[in-house]
């Protein structure tokens, strides 16, 4: 199963390296990872999508928490969250297909952000499934370039992410 983990970390050189090094070394299966500034100056916010069972995601969280530069880690998988991804898709377009592609984009509320004689660049934002479907529909026209940001996530409502971070790990009572 896929889990979404949000981590806040100091915005310092090498921190991303520490995080990605940890994932590689511990052999975690990371689907996507995206980082950017958070609301606090000097603190970056990272969203990671981890593939694995509860035990794996617990491990990821506790190992991340051990990094000195990581200040907080949340598992938002089981909370109501807004999940978004942005993709830029450059798709082949001829005089014959251009309108079709634009209509498709329209249906997905995607935007055409660049037009050339032979291609269109579409920008789409949404949950991954939505991005996936548009990509699927555009594929037959010929995708020349694709850039996806990976998932970013935010818990709905409440007052920011001040809700309790995960503390002590839970022992599982399932049999060994």
């Amino acid at each position: 199963m896929k889990h979404t983990v949000v981590a806040l970390m100091e915005d310092k050189p090498g921190v991303l390296n520490r995080v990605s090094g940890l994932f590689r070394r511990r052999n975690y299966n990371i689907e996507s990872l995206s980082v950017g500034h958070s609301e606090t100056p000097g603190i970056s916010r990272m969203t990671v999508v981890v593939e694995g069972d509860e035990r794996v995601v617990d491990q990821v969280i506790h190992q991340l928490e051990k990094l000195i530069n990581v200040t907080q880690v949340f598992n938002v998988t089981h909370q109501p969250t807004v999940i978004r991804e942005l993709a830029l898709i450059k798709v082949k377009a001829t005089a014959g297909t251009r309108t079709e592609i634009m209509e498709l984009a329209n249906v997905f509320r995607a935007r055409i952000v660049d037009v050339s004689a032979t291609s269109l660049t579409v920008e789409i934002t949404g949950p991954e499934e939505k991005v996936n479907s548009l990509i699927g529909l555009l594929r037959p026209y010929g995708i020349e370039e694709l850039a996806r940001t990976g998932r970013v996530a935010m818990v709905r409502g409440g007052n920011g992410h001040s809700d309790e971070p995960d503390d002590a790990p839970q022992a599982t009572s399932e049999s060994k």
Partner: protein, 563 residues
């Protein structure tokens, strides 16, 4: 106060209580060495940076204080790597200081430039590259704090050469501000109650004492718990000394080379309480079969250890120094006669197979180690190397004191013992320190004999010389068709090598020479080396075959069957 960066380093170390550092000089630390004589810190010149890291590690393990090592950039820094990985695996508080090329040269592949913070990322608890003198005091403060708090570990500080030479205003912070450094302080009362209930209800409970008990300084509390609850305890290799091995409820070291009764107790228990142990595969065997009949409670200061290797029924994240005193009042005295009697039977059976019961004039390593224990009554600190010799030491030396066995467990680093012993001797100047090593591992850092002499350290050395990389040879004999590929080992005449360094030594070939040789070493004022030419193809038993469950052991033959 205006200081150079180099002075700031030493000033801060003095404030952290450091009085000894282990290192080797070079271009990128020449400013540090220049400032050193102004400070009350003894610098121990090692002969290899790996040895400097092991010495700092040995110092830390023996004293519980942070050990410090120092190396220049490039090859000096990379030589530290094995030592840092060793300290990291065994949670030893070490601070390593390396010089880095000057800031303008960083990233240019300058002479002796290496990305040591990148290289040591996965083998340090944290590391720093300092390129601004204003950060230096804070970084040093943080480094020591991180190294010794929570689960201890090594921290590396890489300091650019121009930062060492620069001048700046020095103010050492009183406190650290590290929001990302969590030392567990959660309320443990509820899991402690649950743990007590499980322990009280268990009919065949067993404790596993790991290195964490010693790191937490919770040895005394462990004995109290064991006695009050009347529950037997096994240790890991690094947990040896967490409880006196002379204690009737101590079953000794468990795992791949644990005694049969020890491992049987572990596999027959209905409750296992792990205290500061991380369920290493050398202890557990295949985890799917570990503790088959047991519920498992895992007490650890590091939450990431919970459910990492073994899935447990109850997690208790906290410092054993807090957990054990909270647990003791809640546990009840229970009659465990039946369980203890069963263990007693297994124990007798093991004793019957003990090789020391065998009549023979062969110079076997087990005898050497037992004689060493006998001659010293265990009142020495043993620093063991890696291989068969390490296991024989663990099996046949009876450790009744805390922090009196120092060994590389997690990484299993050959060459650890001699340099680590140098650190141990500096940490414990009034103790007699013994190195036990194989002929292979000893040759990996043999150059440190020079350090022993230069520093006038009275370290005693016992080499269990079997002419093989013995542990590997044993595996080849048992599991690889007896093909001794790459394991026969030609060694020098170690006593003559010692003599060349100015260390007296003896070569022992006969069983009858063991006792007098050890007596001479014990009573000599300075260092002493004994080269024991032991039976070459002796094996370490019992042995759990790799991949086999922990209760299936290759046993020693019974005394009557022994040749």
């Amino acid at each position: 106060m205006r200081l150079t960066g180099a002075q700031m380093v030493w000033e801060s170390l003095v404030r952290e209580g450091v009085d000894t550092v282990f290192g080797i000089s070079g271009g990128a630390v020449i400013h540090l060495y220049h400032a050193l004589p102004e400070y009350p810190i003894h610098h121990v010149l090692m002969r290899h940076e790996q040895a400097a890291a092991h010495a700092a590690d040995g110092y830390a393990r023996a004293t519980g204080k942070v050990g410090v090592c120092l190396a220049t950039s490039g090859p000096g820094a990379t030589n530290l790597v094995t030592g840092l990985a060793t300290a990291y695996m065994d949670s030893s508080p070490v601070v390593a200081i390396t010089g880095q090329v000057a800031t303008p040269f960083i990233g240019t592949d300058a002479f002796q430039e290496v990305d040591i913070t990148g290289i040591t990322l996965p083998i340090t608890k944290h590391n720093y590259l300092v390129t601004d003198i204003r950060e230096l005091p804070v970084v040093i403060k943080q480094a020591f704090h991180i190294a010794r708090t929570g689960r201890p570990g090594p921290v590396l500080i890489d300091i650019a050469k121009d930062v060492q030479a620069a001048q700046g205003e020095y103010q050492y912070p009183d406190e650290v501000h590290l929001p990302g450094h969590r030392v567990p302080r959660n309320d443990i009362s509820s899991p402690v109650q649950q743990a007590a209930r499980m322990l009280n209800e268990a009919r065949r409970p067993l404790l596993i004492a790991g290195h964490g008990v010693i790191l937490a300084g919770a040895e005394h509390a462990l004995v109290q718990l064991v006695e009050k609850a009347n529950v037997p305890v096994v240790t890991t290799l690094l947990g040896i000394g967490a409880i006196p091995e002379t204690h009737p409820l101590c079953l000794g070291m468990a795992g791949m080379h644990g005694e049969a009764y020890t491992n049987l107790a572990m596999s027959e228990a209905d409750l296992i309480v792990s205290l500061g142990c991380r369920f290493d595969d050398r202890l557990t065997g295949p985890v799917s079969q570990f503790g088959r009949q047991a519920r498992i409670i895992h007490v650890d200061i590091d939450s990431a250890e919970i459910n990492k290797n073994v899935v447990v029924d109850l997690a208790l994240v906290g410092d054993l120094k807090d957990v054990l005193p909270a647990l003791i009042p809640l546990v009840e005295e229970r009659n465990r006669d039946e369980w203890l009697a069963r263990i007693g039977e297994w124990r007798e059976d093991s004793a019957k197979r003990d090789i020391l019961g065998r009549e023979s004039d062969d110079l076997v390593p087990q005898y050497v180690i037992r004689q060493l224990w006998y001659a010293t009554q265990g009142n020495v600190v043993v620093v063991s190397d890696v291989g068969q010799n390490q296991m024989w030491e663990a099996q046949y030396f009876i450790h009744h004191r805390r922090r009196a066995l120092i060994s590389s467990g997690g990484l299993g680093t050959m060459g650890f013992a001699l340099p680590a012993a140098i650190g141990v001797q500096f940490g414990l100047p009034h103790e007699q320190v013994w190195v036990t090593a194989g002929d292979g591992g000893f040759q990996m850092n043999i150059q440190e004999l020079a350090t022993v002499v230069q520093e006038k350290l009275p370290i005693k050395i016992a080499i269990l010389n079997n002419g093989y990389l013995g542990m590997v040879r044993q595996w080849q004999q048992l599991f690889f068709e007896g093909r001794y590929s790459g394991t026969p080992l030609l060694g020098p005449d170690f006593a003559q090598v010692a003599a060349a360094y100015g260390i007296p030594g003896l070569t022992v070939r006969e069983k009858s020479e063991v006792e007098p040789a050890i007596a001479r070493a014990v009573h000599s004022d300075g260092p002493f080396l004994i080269d024991f030419r032991i039976v070459q193809e002796e094996n370490v038993y019992p042995m759990v075959a790799p991949g086999a469950p922990i209760h299936t052991m290759i046993r020693r033959p019974e005394a009557s069957e022994q040749g």
